[in-house]
C-alpha cells in the first residue's frame, strides 16, 4: 500500500480542519446545485438554483415584504414564548418542590407533552379565531411543556445540602424558591427553554401555513401556490437559518447559566 502524502493528510488533520472541510462541503453542494439547475439537468422549477434563490431574497428584502412577514412571525413567537415562560417556570418550580402537586399535574402534563400541538390547531382556531392569538397559542403550547418538565427535573437535581444549609441560616420557604431552587434548577430550565424555542419556531410556521394571511409560513404557502420555487426555497432556508441561530443562542444561554458545570465537563 502506498502511504498517503503528508501534505494531503495535514490539510484534513490540522486544527481548524473541521471548519475548512465543512466550508468545502457547503461550497461543493452549492456548486453542484447551481450546475444541475443551471444546465436544466433537473427542471429549475422543481429545485431552483442558488443564484435565483439569492435573487428572490434580494427582491423580498428590497420590496420590504420580508420585514412585514418577519415582524408578524416574530411577534407571534415572542408573545407565545414569553407567556409560556411566565407560566411554565413558576409552575415547574412549584410542582417540582411540592411533591403532591407534582403527582397531581404529572399525568396531565405527560398527556399534553406527548400530544402533537399541530393536531390541536383546528381546536385552537375554534377557540381563538384565525388571528395572531391562535398562532401565539400554538407557540405557547409547544414551549410550555418542555420548560415545565425540565424545571421539575431541575428541582430534583438541587442538592439537599443546599436546602439544609439555607434552613440552618434561617431561610423561609419563599427564600428557598428565590435563592436555592430557581438558581439551582436554572441549567435545567435553560435546557427546557432550548427545546421550547425549537418547538415554538415549528409551531409558528406550521400555524401560519395552516391559516394565516401573513407571516413566514404564509409566505411559503403563497410562493408554493404561485409555483415560485426561488422564493419558496429562499424562505425555507431563512426559517432554517433563524432556527439554527436561536438554537446556538440558547445553547450559549445554557452554558452561561451554569459555568460550574461547563468547566467540570471540559
Amino acid at each position: 500500500m502506498r502511504p498517503r502524502s503528508p501534505q494531503r493528510a495535514s490539510l484534513l488533520l490540522r486544527p481548524g480542519a473541521r471548519a475548512t472541510v465543512g466550508t468545502l462541503s457547503v461550497l461543493l453542494f452549492i456548486g453542484l446545485w447551481q450546475t444541475v439547475g443551471g444546465l436544466a439537468l433537473i427542471d429549475p422549477r422543481y429545485i431552483s438554483t442558488p443564484v435565483d434563490v439569492v435573487r428572490a431574497g434580494v427582491d423580498l428584502v428590497r420590496t420590504e415584504e420580508l420585514w412585514r412577514h418577519l415582524r408578524v412571525s416574530g411577534a407571534e413567537f415572542a408573545l407565545g414564548f414569553v407567556a409560556s415562560l411566565v407560566v411554565a417556570v413558576p409552575l415547574g418550580l412549584l410542582a417540582g418542590w411540592y411533591r403532591r402537586l407534582g403527582y397531581l399535574v404529572d399525568p396531565v402534563l405527560m398527556t399534553f407533552y406527548a400530544m402533537p400541538r399541530d393536531a390541536m390547531l383546528p381546536l385552537i382556531i375554534i377557540w381563538l379565531g384565525i388571528g395572531i392569538y391562535s398562532r401565539a397559542a400554538v407557540v405557547f403550547l409547544g414551549a410550555i411543556f418542555p420548560i415545565i418538565v425540565n424545571t421539575m427535573a431541575g428541582i430534583r437535581k438541587v442538592e439537599p445540602v443546599w436546602i439544609r444549609c439555607a434552613r440552618s441560616f434561617g431561610a423561609r420557604e419563599r427564600h428557598l424558591f428565590w435563592k436555592i431552587l430557581l438558581p439551582g434548577a436554572l441549567p435545567y430550565i435553560m435546557t427546557g427553554v432550548r427545546l421550547g424555542i425549537g418547538r415554538g419556531i415549528i409551531g409558528v410556521i406550521v400555524a401560519e401555513m395552516y391559516v394565516s394571511v401573513e407571516g413566514l409560513g404564509e409566505l411559503i404557502m403563497a410562493a408554493q401556490a404561485g409555483l415560485n420555487t426561488d422564493r419558496l426555497v429562499f424562505v425555507t432556508l431563512l426559517v432554517s437559518a433563524l432556527g439554527f441561530a436561536a438554537l446556538r443562542l440558547s445553547l450559549s444561554l445554557e452554558e452561561w447559566s451554569a459555568p460550574w458545570q461547563r468547566e467540570r465537563e471540559l
Binding site: V161, W162, C165, S168, F169, G170, I180, P183, A258, W260
Partner: protein, 265 residues
C-alpha cells in the same frame, strides 16, 4: 455565654420500606456547661449518630424525645445563636466566594452594603483575600472549607457547629486546616462543637473530647485535654499528646470494633 444541655435525647429515623426505625441517638446526656469559647469535640465510630446529634443541636433534626437546651432555652429550630459548617461544605456553585459568605446574613436582616463589608472581613480572616470573585469550582477542597467557615462566622453565632468539616480533605491539608482553624478561633472565640472520627484532630483542637459509643450513640467518656495553648504542629509529638491518644484509642477501639460487627453487642 453558651451552655449546651442535652438530656436523655433520642433521635429516631423512620426508614421507608423498613419495619424497624433506626435509632441514631439513644438516651444521650451531655452538659457542656460551657465556659464561653470552649472547643469541644465529639468523636465516635462511623454511624454512631454524632452528626445527627450536631444537626439536632442546630434544630435541623427533630428529636424523638428528650431535652435539648441552649442557654436554658429548648431548641425549636435553627436560630441566630448557632451556625453550621457542613461536611459537604454546601457552597452554592452559582455564587462567588464573597456572595457565598454573604448568604447566611441574607436571612438575618443585614443590609446589603453591610453584608459585603462583613463578608470581606471574614474572607480575609480565613486567608482568602484575593479570591472574593472566584467561584467554588475554581477553589481547592481546603479553600472551599475556609469559605464554609467564613460563612458561618459571618452571622456572629455564639456557637459554631462543625460536622466533620475536614473529612473530605487529604491528610496533609487536614492537619494544616486544623492549625488554621485554631488561628481563626483564636481571633473569634466561639463555643465550638466539632464532630470528627479523627482522634489526633480531636486532641489537637479541643478543650474537651466527648467519646460516643457505637450506634445507638451514648456518651462513653468526656476527656479534658489539658495541652497548653496556643498549640502548633509540634504538640502532636509531645508525650502528653501521645498519652491522650492512647487513652482515647483505648476508649474508642471497642466501640469501633462493635461498629464493624467484630464483637457481639
Amino acid at each position: 455565654m453558651a451552655h449546651i444541655d442535652v438530656r436523655n435525647l433520642w433521635v429516631v429515623y423512620r426508614l421507608p420500606r423498613h419495619d424497624d426505625d433506626l435509632v441514631a441517638v439513644e438516651d444521650f446526656t451531655l452538659a457542656l456547661a460551657g465556659r464561653p469559647g470552649e472547643f469541644v469535640s465529639i468523636i465516635g465510630p462511623s454511624g454512631c449518630g454524632k452528626s445527627t446529634l450536631l444537626l439536632a443541636m442546630d434544630g435541623l433534626v427533630q428529636p424523638a424525645s428528650g431535652d435539648l437546651l441552649i442557654d436554658g432555652r429548648p431548641v425549636a429550630g435553627p436560630g441566630p445563636d448557632r451556625a453550621v459548617v457542613f461536611q459537604e461544605v454546601a457552597l452554592l456553585p452559582w455564587r462567588t466566594v464573597l456572595d457565598n459568605v454573604c448568604f447566611g446574613m441574607e436571612f438575618r436582616g443585614v443590609a446589603a452594603a453591610e453584608r459585603q463589608e462583613v463578608a470581606r472581613r471574614y474572607v480575609k480572616l480565613v486567608g482568602l483575600s484575593g479570591f472574593e470573585r472566584h467561584y467554588p469550582h475554581q477553589l481547592s477542597g481546603g479553600m472551599r472549607q475556609r469559605v464554609g467557615i467564613a460563612r458561618a462566622l459571618a452571622v456572629h453565632p455564639a456557637i459554631l457547629l462543625m460536622d466533620e468539616p475536614f473529612g473530605a480533605l487529604d491528610a496533609q491539608t487536614r492537619q494544616l486546616m486544623g492549625v488554621e482553624l485554631l488561628r481563626i478561633w483564636d481571633q473569634e472565640r466561639k463555643t465550638v462543637v466539632f464532630v470528627t472520627h479523627d482522634l489526633d484532630e480531636a486532641i489537637f483542637l479541643s478543650d474537651r473530647v466527648v467519646v460516643m459509643t457505637a450506634r445507638p450513640g451514648r456518651v462513653k467518656a468526656v476527656i479534658p485535654i489539658e495541652l497548653p495553648r496556643p498549640r502548633d504542629q509540634g504538640v502532636r509529638n509531645t508525650l502528653a499528646f501521645i498519652d491522650y491518644r492512647r487513652q482515647l484509642w483505648g476508649l474508642l477501639e471497642e466501640e469501633a470494633m462493635k461498629s464493624l460487627d467484630l464483637v457481639e453487642p
